[in-house]
């Protein structure tokens, strides 16, 4: 087993266990912290795939900004008392069984698909994930979506302020 494989399996196990802990934790603050662990594991996968720009953006935007926003809202609501109303056991079981059935069907589909049977996600070749290549494309072909996203941010900001205002 090479070092890349060991890192891959470690990061995969970390991501799945942390994602499960997001569900299992009773305290919402713990859920946020476990979700940050998931984001770190996914950023590790991006680095492994040589997508360095996305790895650092994932850390800055998701783990840095969005999760802090979640933490602020949780602390604003004072939810860290463990008084969350629970669904009854049958509803939980039904949710878990339906999600497990979906996972089983999709995994069996993937295992049967012959088109992707011998395809490999290359780890060592290519430098398309570096910021130089992505920036050239972003400011040439994708310039209009880039500018539209700034308008989207402005409208989201105004909308959040208007919604969050009292009355």
């Amino acid at each position: 087993m090479s070092a890349i494989q060991i890192i891959f399996w470690f990061l995969s196990a970390l991501a799945i266990v942390s994602a499960l802990m997001v569900l299992i934790s009773k305290n919402p603050v713990h859920s946020v912290l476990w979700l940050i662990m998931v984001f770190f594991a996914i950023s590790g996968h991006y680095i492994l795939l040589n997508a360095q720009f996305l790895a650092i953006v994932n850390l800055i935007v998701y783990a840095g900004a969005i999760m802090v926003l979640f933490l602020f809202v949780i602390m604003l609501m004072n939810l860290n008392t463990e008084s969350e109303p629970q669904k009854n056991l049958w509803m939980k079981l039904a949710g878990a069984v339906s999600g497990g059935c979906l996972l089983m069907i999709l995994v069996s589909l993937v295992r049967q698909a012959t088109e992707i049977g011998n395809k490999v996600a290359e780890m060592k070749v290519g430098n398309i994930g570096l910021i130089g290549n992505l920036g050239k494309l972003l400011f040439s072909d994708y310039l209009v979506p880039f500018e539209i996203s700034s308008v989207l941010f402005l409208s989201a900001m105004v909308g959040a302020v208007v919604i969050g205002k009292k009355n």
């Binding site: 919402p28 490999v120 290359e122 409208s155």
Partner: protein, 111 residues
């Protein structure tokens, strides 16, 4: 790594997100599970971009196949950030009106 491993990892994360949306009643946890699903899709997009780049690299060493997928991931992150800001504002407003984060309170909307 074989692309199947990445597909199965992403599917596992996505299904964990679905189970979270179905099982939990705290609306913030439901929202976090939606973020988890978005990240699973992002990981799959990056893996597929490297897969196609690896195929194109064999014939042309200077190919830029696959940069589009990584920019898609970038735009998904942009939209997710905007979505989170508006969604959390809605949750705060809902909490101010009902003093609860239980999603079952939201069925008052139908009256």
């Amino acid at each position: 790594m074989p692309i199947q491993y990445y597909i199965i990892l992403s599917l596992a994360l996505f299904c964990i997100g679905i189970v979270g949306v179905l099982v939990r009643r705290n609306v913030i946890i439901v929202f976090m599970c939606i973020e988890l699903m978005l990240n699973a899709v992002n990981l799959l997009l990056v893996a597929f971009s490297k897969m196609h780049h690896g195929v194109a690299y064999l014939s042309d060493k200077l190919t830029t196949t696959g940069t589009d997928a990584q920019l898609f991931v970038f735009f998904i992150m942009v939209v997710a950030a905007a979505e989170v800001s508006v969604g959390l504002a809605i949750i705060v407003m809902m909490y101010r009106n009902t003093h609860s984060v239980d999603v079952n309170f939201l069925n008052r909307l139908k009256n």
